[in-house]
Symmetry: C2
DNA sequence: AACCAATGCGTTATGAAATAACATAACCCG
DNA sequence: CGGGTTATGTTATTTCATAACGCATTGGTT
């Protein structure tokens, strides 16, 4: 990444085993409640996102799709991502052209990220958008969604070198 | 765009004539002060951005590059855009893959936009990022830049429909 | 069960956005 | 005017994303 200190990419460990299964099960039950379908391709893509240590590019997901190493076709993954975003299970990080699983509990929240330019991690956080909303409404806008991406150095990369 | 009311794209009129010349001259003098060079390709791309009624895609700029209708080669435009962004004369809107000229006075690294999903305009505004900065610093981050993109309906599109 | 509308998937192909790499030219400064 | 630095021209390629079509599955309705 831009700054390049010597840390190996880390800091946002992917899920595995029971934690992974539990996260997927949570998604599944949420889908059932809303009569949405977590179909096999959608589930696979969600798993890949949850397993990852950081943001994944669409073509990383395409390459990692099959358990046997078989890649997916691009529309398969893009369609799954569209679904996962719609349900709030994943977010697209515009400034990276990459995707992360949602780390926040709440159902309705706006996506906001702290992106480390050194190690590449993207930490989701829940900001207070009230001032921005107020400004937008003062200007006569009806805001539907807000995306915020802050770039800088994470604690680990800031401290070391 | 997404919502599609029937307004013709408008709302952010491009500059022409004296106003255009004046904006370019301002950029030029700012460059001189900082010993940067507003070279012909950079100037051309800046002019195209200033003339436009809304955000321009990179390949729109490539197509519109020559006065004689001759397109530019992609790197020419991308390099110019990189320069214009660095100097604060233009901003990239990540969620649109598009570019706008800077409408604000100050040279801050904070770009914030209200993007109308109906007419496609993108209005730059100067938000108060203090709460987000505070949240980021509380999490131990050293923030370098912040991008905020709010999507919704502008006053014109909100009212009519 | 038979139907059918809606939704999702597989597949091929293509479109759109951005950059790598290398050669040449212009600029600045001593 | 020499030499480093910065900018441009050019070709090619890589990366990111979607269009379009037909088939399969689902879930509701009679």
């Amino acid at each position: 990444m831009g700054v390049d200190c010597h840390h190996t990419e880390s800091a946002q460990p992917g899920l595995e085993g029971a934690a992974l299964a539990s996260a997927v099960a949570a998604a599944e039950s949420k889908c059932e409640r809303t009569r949405e379908r977590l179909t096999p391709p959608r589930r696979r893509v969600l798993e890949r996102l949850l397993e990852a240590d950081g943001p994944m590019k669409a073509y990383d997901l395409i390459a990692a799709y099959g358990q046997d190493g078989e890649p997916a076709k691009p529309p398969t993954v893009y369609r799954a991502l569209e679904f996962l975003e719609r349900l709030g299970f994943a977010h697209r990080i515009e400034s990276l052209n990459a995707y992360v699983p949602c780390r926040m509990e709440g159902t309705s929240h706006r996506a906001a990220f702290l992106i480390c330019e050194c190690c590449g991690t993207a930490e989701e956080f829940e900001p207070d958008f009230a001032p921005q909303f107020a400004a937008a409404e003062a200007a006569g806008y009806a805001v539907r969604t807000v995306t915020l991406e802050a770039r800088g150095l994470c604690p680990a990369c800031k401290g070391g070198a």
